[in-house]
Every structure is written in structure tokens, then in C-alpha cells.
Amino acid sequence: MEQNSKYIIATMLSVGLLSCIYFLSLLLPVPFMVSILVILVSIFFLFKFIITTKTAAGQSAEQQLPWQAVLGFGLCAALLVKNALGVAEKHGGWDAWAIWNFHAGYLSEPVYWKNLFRNIESDHPDYPLCLPSVIGFFYRLCAHHFTIIIPFAFSMLVTVSIPALLFSEFIRKNMVVALFITFLFAQDKVFLGFGVAEYADSLLALFLLGAFVCIDHAIENKRYLLLSAACLGGCIWTKNEGAILAGLFLLFNARIFFQLKNIRYTIGGLALPVITLVIFKMNAHVQNDMVNSLNKETINLILDIERYKTIWHSFTDNLNQKFYYVKIGVYIYLILLLIEKKWPDWQMLLVFTCLLVYNLIYVVTTHGLEWHLQTSQDRLMHQLMPAMVYILAKKLAGIRVSYPLEQA
């Protein structure tokens, strides 16, 4: 794995680690100074663990890049910043102030933070707390100053990390592809809009992308298997639908993750976020509204063909308006498969399955279907988009996709 990729993966996993430790420290409760110390020490060892992980032969720690690549990345970063500022709102999007930053406000208070779980009116106290814990930690660290700046800075970190990780992964394999996808993200105001809206969707997208990147490197070192599992843990601790993504990812890669010799890596990566989530759910005592709404009427919803048509129309509208270059990429991908007379690889099938499962959830929603689609379908597509771009770019860059441990 590229050294830059390692730093980005280490940073995103540090976010997950910080979040879990801070949340658990609130529960125990532990003095804030102690939790800061534990967090700092844990992050130090996490970085040491990741940065010192040996990579494929021939990759040295001190790597050189062509100046054109650095210049191109710099220009894309400048474009990204300009476009992100153009779509950013002072308090983020609706869900930022109604859910994520609102929850962060509670988690920044050591005594009455559990009031968060009582907000069942127009709120979702069952939503996992990865993002609010991090924001809440920094609110508290800064004594409730910079409450506008902190969520924005964090959202920028996540938003920039997605194209940066993709760039880092492709720059040595195909510079044109690396720069092209970085440019696509930098000019994409929909992607940037979701990013700086201060929602958890981009963080979930980053964790999922990290899981794909890490598992592809598991052939170099099995530590990457642990990191891939940790990324999936991050998905689970970020959003409820992250559990669906993680579950499908583990299912599609069961022969790798659950091999007897690998299972300790899988458990090692998943343990902390899953334990934290279970403890959180036990404390929240609030069930998910979607799960609660399943009843005898659900079968009628499943049999209603019109619902499928509505979902499909909304999906194609979103695809055409907000994810047009992914659509073009998928067409090119399918044409290449036809020419090569091959089936889609497992990673693409996994993303398609995630997309299918996401859309099937709308079939059984008891909320107004059109309202539900309008308010969330594009965000769900956004969560999968970076991983899909990664898979498409691998195809374009001519990188063979296979089960990474087959040769191990």
C-alpha cells in the first residue's frame, strides 16, 4: 500500500477509535483528561501499527512522484476547496443541525448527555454515534467555542480524504486515471454538497472505500485484513445502514474473513466498534423506526408493483442528475466486460447488491414513499459512489480484480 494511503487509512481509523473511546468514557464515566490521554496513546499506536506495516516488495517508505502528478493534485485540491465553499451552509444541511451536530451537542456534556436518548420526537436517537462523538469530543476540548468551524473542518477532512485515497491508490498504476478521478470529484458539486453538509454519509462512504482498498492489499500483509475489518466496524458505528454494507461485505468475502487462520484479524478489526455499538444500543433503548414499522401491512407493500416503479424512476432520475459520470463509467465497464466476455467481478457485484438491498428497503417503508425517496435515496447512492468509482477506475487502469488472498 502507498505510504499516503496508509496515512489516510490511519487518520480515518483514528476517527473511529477516538469516537469509540470517547463514547465509552462518557458511559463509565472517566475524567476528560484521562480520556484525552487514552485517545492520544491509542492513536499513536494505531498510526505506528499502520505506518510500519510492510507493503509489497519494491515499495519503499520514501516514494517519489512525477511533478505533474503533484501539480495536478494540487490544482484539483484548489478546485475542490473552491467548489466546496460554494455549496457549504453555515450550520450544515438539515440533518446536520437536526441530528448529527445536535447529538454532538449532547455528547459534549459529561453529565446530562443521556438526554439524547429521550429525543424521540422528530429525532433518531438510535442513530450510531461515530460522527457525533468526534464532533462532541472537539466541542468539549474547545470549551464549546468554534461550534460552527469544528463540524465543517471535520467534514472537509472526510470529503478531501475520499479523492486523496483514490489518487494515492492509482497514481503509480495509471497517472491519467488517478488525476482524472481526482478531477471528477473536485468538480462534482453534488459530491461536495453531501460532504460539507456535515452529514454522516460521506464518512460512511470513506469507511466503505477504505474496506475495499485494504482488502485489495491483504495479499501484501494480513494486517490489511484487520484494517479492512476495522473499516467495516467504522461503517457499523457510523450509520444503521452501515451494518447492511458491512454484513454484505463480510458475506461476499466470507471465505477470506472467516478462514480459520484469518478469523483473529476479522475479530480484531471488528471488536471495538461492534462492542461500542452494542453498548450504545443497550443504553439507547430506542428501536429503529423502520424496523418498528414492519407489520402485517408489509406484505401488501411488497406486492405493490407501483412502488417498485416509483423507486426505479427516482433511482434513474438521481443517477442521471447527480451521478452521471458513474453511470457513464458503468456503461463503459459493461461494454468492456462484453468485449472480454467476462462476468462482473465480485466487488462490483457487491456494490450492486448493496444498491439493490438499499432500494428494497424503500419497498417496505411506511413513510410516504416519494418523500422517503426524495430525502434519502441520493444520499444512499452517495455512500456507495466512491467505492464504485474505485472499482471502475481499477478496470480502466487495467488492474486485475480477484480474491486477494487466493494466491496467499
Binding site: E2, Q3, N4, Y7, E62, Q63, Q64, L65, P66, W67, A69, V70, F73, G74, A77, A78, L80, V81, A84, L85, A88, E89, K90, H91, W97, A98, N101, F102, G105, Y106, E109, V111, Y112, W113, N115, L116, R118, N119, E121, S122, I148, I149, F152, A153, M156, L157, V160, S161, A164, F167, S168
Partner: protein, 132 residues
């Protein structure tokens, strides 16, 4: 060039975006800011751990979101009537602007309540009341 320049660019872009965002938003005044300004004076009257009831008189639904955001970590409900401390938000247009405070309190269901704090801005009256 060394590959670490990519990380430096990454950090610089986050720092630059944050600085520019802070500068750009410094002069922006939205509904959340208005609510924050309006309710700041009420906070010293609310003891730690107090549960609040919101009485939103013909106002937008968003008022509940904006108000509870300002009062975290207090719990604020608009459905229950069991809490003693009540925040009433009432559009000025719905009232007679010349009405006395006592009349407005009565009209908004706060008859015989003790008025802890009041405020108004260009859109709303704000009252914090309790029974005792």
C-alpha cells in the same frame, strides 16, 4: 517530488477551506443564529437537568429543532405537558403588537404562570414560564 507533498497539499487544503469558511460565514445570519440570539438570555434561568416543554404557537415546525439545539443538553418536548418549565414561542404577526405582556401570556396558555424571562425579535415573542 516526494509523495508526502500530497499529504501536505491535503492538510493545506483543509486548513485553507476552514479559514475561508470561517471568514465567509462571519457575516452570514440565518434562522439558527436568530434563535440563538433570541434565547441566549433564557439560559441562566434554566437549572441543570431541567426538562423543558415547548409551546410553539402557530410557528414553523423548525422552531422546535432550532430551540432544542440551543438548549442542549436539556430535554425539550413539544408533545408533553408534564414539565413545569415552558418555553413559548409565538409569532408577533399572530398577536396584537400593542397587547400587554399579561394579555399575551394569557392568550398563549400561560395564565397564572410565573414569568421567568421574556424576549422578542422581529418575528417572535419568547416567554419562559414556570408554575412556581
Amino acid at each position: 517530488m516526494k509523495s508526502r507533498y500530497i499529504l501536505i497539499i491535503l492538510l493545506v487544503s483543509i486548513a485553507a477551506a476552514t479559514l475561508l469558511f470561517g471568514k465567509k460565514m462571519h457575516g452570514v445570519d440565518d434562522n439558527m443564529d436568530k434563535m440563538e440570539r433570541a434565547l441566549t438570555g433564557a439560559k441562566p434561568f434554566i437549572a441543570a437537568g431541567t426538562n423543558l416543554q415547548l409551546r410553539n404557537i402557530k410557528g414553523k415546525n423548525e422552531l422546535h429543532f432550532w430551540a432544542r439545539y440551543q438548549f442542549t443538553p436539556h430535554y425539550m418536548s413539544y408533545k408533553t405537558t408534564e414539565y413545569d418549565t415552558v418555553l413559548t414561542i409565538c409569532p408577533i404577526l399572530a398577536m396584537m403588537p400593542i397587547m400587554a405582556v399579561d394579555s399575551i401570556l394569557k392568550a398563549t396558555g400561560n395564565r397564572d404562570k410565573k414569568l421567568l424571562w421574556q424576549n422578542k425579535d422581529e418575528e417572535y415573542y419568547y416567554f419562559l414560564t414556570c408554575t412556581h
